[in-house]
């Protein structure tokens, strides 16, 4: 018995130490780590149901809604409530199916959560979220559901906002506004990576995918409301823990004027129709006029008043849900890629003679006199090649201003050649001065303008660097051709094959070299240089306003849901032209001459030049393998500039024949020539529109 008592003592000590261990672990879990486990417990039992916030309006300068929300009835089924029905809701779905003209099995399918083994259509949102089963139903159907609650438990009919683009005054502004699409996996993942989740983006949320809807998505979207439901282990809802109302999105006031926008859209279309009615002398076919764009900018601020692009599309396709085939058609090259705005996307086009004011500014800065005269022969032989005067004939000795007016190429060829020689010609000096390329950069070409729209093309300046990079990229193919020639062409077109082979041999050997031909082409905006209409509008606005390069802006202000200003977007200067006051004055006068008695004089016949002098430059750019691009770049009134208007029509013929008449029409609308001015008092509004508490909008 004595040893038994000893053993019992040992057992007792062992048991007490084990229990002490339990006590320590208990204290650790509950006292030390308690907070962490409390959070885990919250995650366990709380499920969130999201009420979407009303997206903010996008308004024009006078408060006309360019994008708004339209109410429509949506029928939704609450799965939690449905499961509580005695027959798990079979009868309800049966009844609802009859009302909506859908089989009950299809409704059941629609509300089943997506997962392995579940075929589409299925619900891929939160299982606690009511599932929309019919959208855009008529009011009578919706009322039946709302009034006969006892017949339709677990079914709701609600007015839900859908995005709507009402095109006030006919201004559709499709490319400016962009469109919305449901958030995709990538965006959800990106949000998760940023650690945002409460409440953040939900799977069914619409997200801006282009244009202003994308650029200002965060401001417009608002904050969704969240209802936190308590659930048990099986996911059954046991109560409501918290309810947070949604906060509507902010409204965006833009500098777009719906009336000007409408005119711009119409005139772009008219220009394209005009081009298609003309025969191209080079090809003998009608002009394709496959794409085009127009920009109207306030030269004093850089704000965009109107901007349109062709081809366009119907924004309604996004609202009703787009099918993959429709989407393919929208992005398809064949249909011209209507999703792209040619005003600032799609790469740009060679600017042609609209580039000449920049060449002239470069010449002036490089010491070429603006007062002396320059010979303008019909053609010029440079570096063993004849360079023609494309748009004009032999004018003899003329001033620089006259060269701009009549768009004489040979004057600029000569200047470009002399600049090239100064830089050492084929044996370039260590640091070539390249005045024209440098000036192009100073005018903001070859880089994004920084416009507040997504996906802007930077364009391209085809300078020495570009040529070397291009040669490095292509030399393998070029040198292969130099060796093998063009045997596939030789039988049918022996002359062309020989020419191409010779070209390949030259390019393979020293295609990186900045030749005089490159310099000469550059001076008249031909070759590989690419410019977007927006870049050109900004450059011309800078000539107009005394040399300031503005950052183009569409957004003017953000107003809170109740209308109070949240933020205003001030004009932002991004640079100053390295061009003297006198040169700018000289250019302005010369460009007015283009309109009064130069290449655009015919398009502006009968124009009140004294009252509203227009400075302009036509451009007809060659594009290898295509018809010419029609450009017309302008600003007005030249003596007190307000607007820069630039139009471009791809494969659209000449600048004077296609684009110029349409730009004239836009100025007529702006200034009220032969018609009522579209702007109240003929001026852009300076104030902001008022949003009243009842969400109606008042003019500034």
């Amino acid at each position: 018995m004595k040893r038994t008592r000893h053993r019992l003592l040992g057992v007792r000590v062992l048991i007490l130490s084990l229990f002490a261990a339990l006590g320590v672990q208990l204290a650790f879990l509950q006292v030390v780590a308690g907070d962490r486990y409390r959070e885990d417990a919250q995650d366990n039992r709380i499920r969130e149901v999201v009420t979407p916030a009303a997206r903010g309006l996008i308004l024009d300068d006078l408060g006309r809604p360019l994008a708004q929300n339209r109410s429509r009835f949506v029928i939704s089924v609450n799965r939690t409530d449905l499961e509580r029905q005695p027959d798990r809701g079979e009868a309800v779905l049966e009844r609802l199916g009859r009302l909506l003209g859908l089989p009950a099995t299809e409704l059941r399918q629609q509300i089943s959560p997506c997962g392995p083994g579940v075929t589409e259509p299925c619900w891929n949102g939160s299982p606690y979220q009511p599932v929309p089963v019919a959208e855009g139903v008529d009011a009578q159907t919706a009322l039946q559901i709302m009034e006969r609650r006892e017949d339709y438990p677990a079914v709701t009919a609600e007015l839900v906002a859908a995005r709507d683009y009402p095109a006030p005054e006919g201004a559709r502004a499709v490319h400016l506004l962009g469109y919305l699409q449901p958030a995709d996996e990538e965006e959800m993942a990106a949000q998760e990576a940023r650690g945002l989740r409460d409440p953040g983006l939900q799977r069914a949320d619409l997200v801006g995918r282009a244009g202003l809807e994308k650029q200002y998505d965060d401001l417009l979207r608002g904050t969704p409301g969240v209802t936190r439901l308590a659930v048990d282990h099986a996911g059954r809802v046991t109560g409501t823990v918290e309810q947070v109302a949604p906060v509507p999105g902010n409204h965006l006031v833009t500098s777009i004027d719906a009336k000007v926008q409408a005119v711009a859209e119409q005139e772009l279309h008219a220009a394209i129709e005009r081009a298609r009615g003309q025969i191209d002398d080079n090809t003998g076919r009608r002009y394709e006029a496959d794409a085009g764009a127009v920009v109207v900018m306030d030269v004093r601020t850089g704000r965009i008043v109107a901007m349109a692009s062709y081809p366009s599309y119907d924004p309604q396709v996004w609202v009703d849900g787009i099918t993959p085939t429709e989407y393919q058609r929208l992005v398809d090259e064949e249909s011209g890629g209507p999703l792209l705005s040619r005003a600032f996307q799609g790469g740009g086009a060679p600017p042609g003679s609209t580039f000449k004011p920049i060449s002239a500014a470069a010449a002036a800065a490089a010491g070429f006199s603006l007062t002396s005269t320059y010979p303008c022969p019909g053609s010029l032989t440079i570096g063993g090649r004849r360079f023609r005067n494309f748009e004009s004939q032999d004018y003899g000795d003329i001033t620089m201003a006259r060269a701009l007016e009549v768009s004489c190429d040979t004057v600029f060829y000569d200047i470009a050649q002399r600049m090239w020689l100064r830089d050492g010609g084929n044996q370039p000096v260590e640091r070539p001065s390249d005045p024209m390329q440098r000036m192009a950069r100073s005018f903001g070409l070859g880089q994004p303008t920084g416009v507040d729209l997504p996906g802007e093309s930077p364009g391209r300046i085809a300078d020495r660097d570009y040529k070397r990079r291009h040669w490095e990229r292509t030399k393998d193919e070029t040198c292969r051709r130099a060796d093998s020639g063009y045997p596939e062409l030789a039988p049918s077109e022996p002359a062309r094959a020989r020419f191409l082979e010779q070209l390949a041999k030259e390019n393979c050997a020293d295609g990186f070299r900045w030749r005089v031909g490159d310099a000469v082409n550059f001076s008249i905006g031909q070759g590989d240089t690419l410019v977007t209409p927006l870049q050109l509008a900004r450059a011309y606005a800078a000539i107009a306003n005394g040399g300031t390069l503005w950052r183009p802006q569409v957004a003017k202000a953000v107003l809170g849901p109740d209308g109070h200003p949240v933020k205003t977007f001030e004009p932002e200067a991004t640079g100053q032209l390295p061009v003297s006051r006198s040169t700018l004055d000289y250019l302005r006068d010369a460009l007015v001459g283009v309109t009064t008695h130069g290449s655009a004089a015919r398009a502006f016949a009968g124009w009140p030049h004294d009252e509203y002098p227009v400075a302009s430059k036509t451009g007809t750019a060659e594009v290898y393998g295509n018809q010419t691009t029609s450009w017309f770049a302008t600003f007005a009134p030249a003596d007190q500039p307000q607007y820069a208007v630039v139009m471009m029509v791809s494969q659209g013929g000449t600048g004077s024949g296609t684009a110029a008449p349409s730009v004239r029409k836009i100025y007529e609308a702006l200034f009220g020539i032969g018609r009522e001015p579209v702007l109240p008092g003929g001026e852009l509004p300076t104030g902001l529109p008022q949003i009243r508490p009842d969400s109606t909008v008042g003019q500034p």
Partner: protein, 395 residues
């Protein structure tokens, strides 16, 4: 009679009553939400629990009055009854609950889990065996261990066949505990421990365990491994206890409990209800009550004036201690999940009856002690003396 009442171990009784009372509340809280959501009577489990508590207390009272030494005559019957009960489980009368074929259907909605009374029976019969073998001399004999193991092997084997790993472990611990307390030499104990360890390795290697049992151990080692599979229970239990904090969320207000996130919460995981709803304060009280219960059991064993009483009480002490430690340990994540209920607290009639019967036995050992405890200096009362069998009266 009054004197006998005064000689009861009141501290032990108080601990048992307090544990049972708290258990009833916790079972009620653990089940009322589930009953409500299933459309049942929210108090159904409480009533059944209280009913078995009442029956168990009555049984404990009877056993207390009964002189434990009488069991030296009835011991074999107790053992045989337990074995028959375990055999019945394997007969067509047996029922399967939660994958364990551990029940006998008694009809009328009542069923019995014979592995619970088998625990009592094993304590009694092993204590009896060793006492009888030492009746001649007072020392260890080399046949003690094989005999003990042979006797225990039958019920343990039958429980393993059900299969009920948890109960088999409890029975094994009872055997080990009694052997230790019976002063079996250390070399024997070491040999047994090594054999058991080798056996455990062999069982795992030879694939004698079911996959779910291996999974539970794996999940124990790393609960984040598969939070919705084997590790789910462990994780949810820890969340429930951890979220209780210092003072708990209040009875009936635990979100993990009312949401039924912890499976088997009214039985094996009842401690998580205490952890969540009563917090560290309540759970620590529960732990202190168990400490008191086991401490008093050990005191009764140490003061028993015969080997039989000491071994039986010691065996019961090991049983309670092991079940308590493993059960609370698994809810706290320091022990693997095994189907072992928390004594006096978990819902379950068979266990309640077995536990309270064991308490009756403990009180009986205490009540029928020959002399006053040296600490208290209390003298043996006449009533108690007359209750003693004659041959022990002198001393």
């Amino acid at each position: 009679m009054i004197a006998a009442l005064r000689r009861l171990d009141w501290l032990l009784l108080a601990a048992v009553l307090a544990l049972s009372g708290m258990g009833a509340l916790l079972v009620w809280s653990a089940t009322h939400a589930r009953q409500l959501s299933a459309g049942g009577d929210p108090n159904a489990y409480l009533y059944r629990h209280l009913a078995s508590l009442a029956i168990g207390l009555a049984l404990a009272g009877i056993v207390t009055r009964f002189d434990y030494r009488q069991l030296r005559i009835h011991g074999p019957v107790v053992y045989l009854a337990a074995v028959v009960g375990l055999l019945l489980v394997l007969s067509p009368l047996g029922r399967t609950v939660n994958g364990s074929h551990s029940w006998i259907d008694l009809g009328g909605g009542f069923s019995l889990q014979p592995s619970e009374p088998a625990k009592v029976a094993l304590c009694v019969s092993l204590a009896l065996l060793l006492t009888e073998r030492r009746a001649s001399g007072d020392g260890f004999r080399s046949g003690d261990v094989p005999h003990t193991l042979g006797l225990a092997a039958v019920p343990i084997g039958l429980v393993m066949l059900q299969p009920d790993l948890g109960s088999a472990m409890v029975l094994t611990v009872i055997v080990a505990g009694i052997l230790v307390i019976a002063a079996v030499p250390v070399r024997w104990l070491t040999g047994l421990a090594l054999t058991a360890a080798a056996g455990a390795v062999a069982v795992v290697r030879l694939g004698l365990l079911d996959q779910y049992q291996i999974d539970r151990f794996a999940a124990f080692a790393n609960p984040d491994l598969d939070p919705l599979g084997a590790g789910y229970t462990t994780e949810q239990a820890r969340i429930a206890i951890g979220s209780g904090g210092l003072t708990g969320q209040g009875l009936f207000h635990g979100t993990q409990t009312s949401g039924q996130f912890v499976p088997e919460q009214h039985t094996d995981f009842i401690f998580t209800v205490a952890g969540e709803e009563l917090g560290f304060a309540g759970a620590a009280v529960l732990l202190l009550l168990f400490t008191t219960l086991i401490y008093r059991t050990c005191v009764i064993a140490a003061r028993a004036d015969d080997l039989f009483g000491a071994l039986m009480a010691g065996g019961i002490g090991c049983w309670f201690a092991f079940q308590t430690f493993v059960n609370i340990g698994m809810t706290l994540g320091i022990m693997p999940v095994t189907g072992i209920p928390l004594p006096f607290v978990s819902y379950g009639g068979s266990a309640m009856l077995a536990n309270l019967t064991a308490v009756g036995l403990l009180q009986s050992v205490r009540l029928h002690q020959r002399v006053a405890t040296p600490q208290s200096g209390e003298l043996l009362t006449a009533d108690a003396v007359t209750a003693l069998p004659r041959r022990h009266r002198a001393g």
